[in-house]
Symmetry: C2
Subunit: 388 residues, 2 copies
């Protein structure tokens, strides 16, 4: 009996080994397939750069995915699985297979990126260079030697990509530019830098806020907020160039942009700051907290933790920059106190009513958030992200 | 000249079409490959169920990924791309190719899931059934007819999976169980349900908190918190069964668990509730807010929005349940006021110093949060998640 069982186990384990070899063989074919696909998309990238066809063609992507979803359905494979895989593969092609872009305005001479060695500055340096422009980087140390001024005096386009706390100061010094030089900044607030640029320089001016981190694969599918300064016709080429890079432009007034930003950058980050302070003072065991780890719990904690891996000065600047922010935060504090009184009074029903009222205000958006965040948590789990 | 250009464009567009056909052909092969792979993993699942080999074998997964990463490296393909794809594919196999699990304790008769038609209850019903147990569901309407009591009187295991606000009340009524019947609950708080279970029933008792949403693919790779009640030897089979389902068990004291939960479930959700109230009263244009959409901005807003797509009563119960929570929230409110005074005084440096201090408290964890959340945002972007 024991022997028979052993034999059975041996047979089982042999069959398991065979199946695993089969799986490994298929996975190996997957890698080969990816290598072949990369060769094709690299050539597509080259042709697009030469002919000026946009890198990102939403319709092509949509058709490509729809065909494979249909095929998956027919083959008994999950269409969502196929779509997820294709999107991940396409991210990689966008990221790695665009070494060149069409140069929209070959007439432009020197492009100077002030702060071009910074995280966001580097993205612009790289994109301009891949498009055949002559790019110079100006950093802090170049000002004292006079080399900065020399570069800037002859530039046809200047992009300010320095930290937010010195943006205005740097702009104020840009009085040596040629009259037709294009001046732009890429700061995450827009009103004050734009005002400063219009004051320092009489030529074309535009304020940009690229809504992506330096980890994004270039500018493909990313939103860039554009706030008009002066002479849009003279900077239209830069807009076209960013579209060539794959960006979606969102035109806005500087004040409207800054107001919207206050709700997230200021309100949410300040709140997260206080939450971090609170945790530090309550001093729970962080190890224990992370062990009780449902995906949403981990994400909530990660959203707090991530803030404190970043520059204290950056967030101080963002939060302290605008006096309007103080009043907004004071009102939040007030409302927190109001909600607390519901709790102190044990008014569960009052809480639930307010909760529903907020839900109504959010409308359909909150449902989409829930669906999307669940999807996102599954993706986090695939990659063992947010885990210990 | 115009004609030549046209010819050139025609040539270009022909070549692009050819390349795109080539890409489509490879993508089609990808779908075929997935179908073949699914056939193999389905057989693996069947063999594992029959022989009792665990569904999730971390070492096998590790080796599988390491081999393909190495191959990718050799073929000039991104190893991270390959790993991401494989993990997504494996999620799918876990999700769909486990129709049977080994039955750890065939001696167990009826398993009754109270609230088995609810989201989490369904997961347990399905897992028990796939493991060959006889499962009955008891719902609200079964109590008045007496059919609930009849079922429960003869059950060998009873799992309470009802909403948090009626958990204790339901448990209090469970006085008819057989002396050796196993009683467990799956509520997200543990102290009070556990105390109620020990009081209502003299047999084996255990408190469980499955740390995953109903969207998770079963229990594979998920954490279940286990809080000991009474007679662990008598419920060991359930622990082994959950391990067979792929779970990782995390043993904890009920009080320790509830305290850790307070920091996220209570603190963070209450705070998010106030933030939602605040937005509703400030009434910014939600459309505009979402248009200014950097990935992290979208995620921050989604974390607020998602709360309000859920049950007001559920969150009222979680937050109002424990009087200790009030004091914790009062201290948060106090600290928010303190931080506000820094802002009112324009004390940027004080803010930055506190910020750094919190960063130190978080230690390495905050860096990992930043890295992981950036990865996660890239994944969100692949799937166009959190976008309009």
């Amino acid at each position: 009996m024991v022997q028979k069982n052993d034999e059975h186990l041996t047979g089982t384990s042999q069959r398991l080994d065979e199946l695993r070899e089969g799986i490994d063989e298929l996975d190996s074919q997957l890698v080969e397939l990816l290598a072949k696909r990369a060769a094709l998309t690299t050539e597509v990238g080259r042709i697009k750069a030469d002919s000026g066809v946009p890198v990102y063609v939403p319709e092509r992507e949509k058709r490509l995915i729809a065909s494979r979803r249909a095929q998956a359905e027919d083959s008994g494979v999950s269409p969502d699985l196929v779509e997820d895989l294709l999107r991940r593969i396409m991210r990689e092609s966008y990221h790695t297979q665009n070494n060149r872009y069409r140069c929209v305005n070959p007439g432009i001479g020197d492009v100077v990126i002030i702060g071009g060695n910074g995280a966001l500055g580097k993205v612009f340096v790289s994109l301009f260079r891949k498009s055949g422009y002559t790019v110079y980087v100006v950093e802090k140390e170049d000002w004292s030697t006079g080399s900065a001024s020399a570069r800037l005096r002859v530039a046809d386009a200047v992009i300010v990509a320095v930290p937010i706390n010195i943006t205005e100061q740097v702009i104020t010094n840009l009085t040596m530019l040629k009259p037709d030089c294009l001046l732009a900044d890429v700061t995450s607030i827009k009103n004050r830098p734009l005002t400063a640029m219009l004051k320092a320089h009489n030529g074309p001016v535009v304020g940009l806020h690229p809504m992506f981190g330096p980890d994004a694969p270039g500018m493909i599918k990313q939103v860039v907020v554009v706030t008009e300064g002066r002479d849009p016709a003279a900077y239209q080429w830069l807009m076209d160039q960013m579209i060539t890079w794959g960006a979606t432009l969102h035109h806005s007034k500087a004040a409207e942009h800054d107001e919207a930003m206050a709700y997230i950058q200021v309100m949410r980050h300040f709140n997260t700051f206080v939450y971090g302070e609170h945790l530090r003072e309550e001093n729970p065991d962080l190890e224990t907290l992370t062990q009780f780890s449902s995906p949403i719990y981990r994400l909530e904690l990660a959203m707090v933790g991530r803030l404190f891996a970043q520059s204290p000065e950056l967030y101080a600047d963002i939060i302290f920059d605008n006096p309007d922010n103080i009043e907004l935060l004071q009102r939040f504090h007030q409302r927190f106190g109001d909600a607390l009184r519901l709790l102190e009074a044990g008014d569960k029903q009052g809480f639930a009513e307010r909760f529903s009222r907020v839900g109504k205000w959010f409308g359909n958006y909150s449902n989409r958030c829930l669906v999307d965040s669940k999807q996102l948590l599954l993706k986090a789990d695939d990659g063992q992200l947010l885990r210990k």
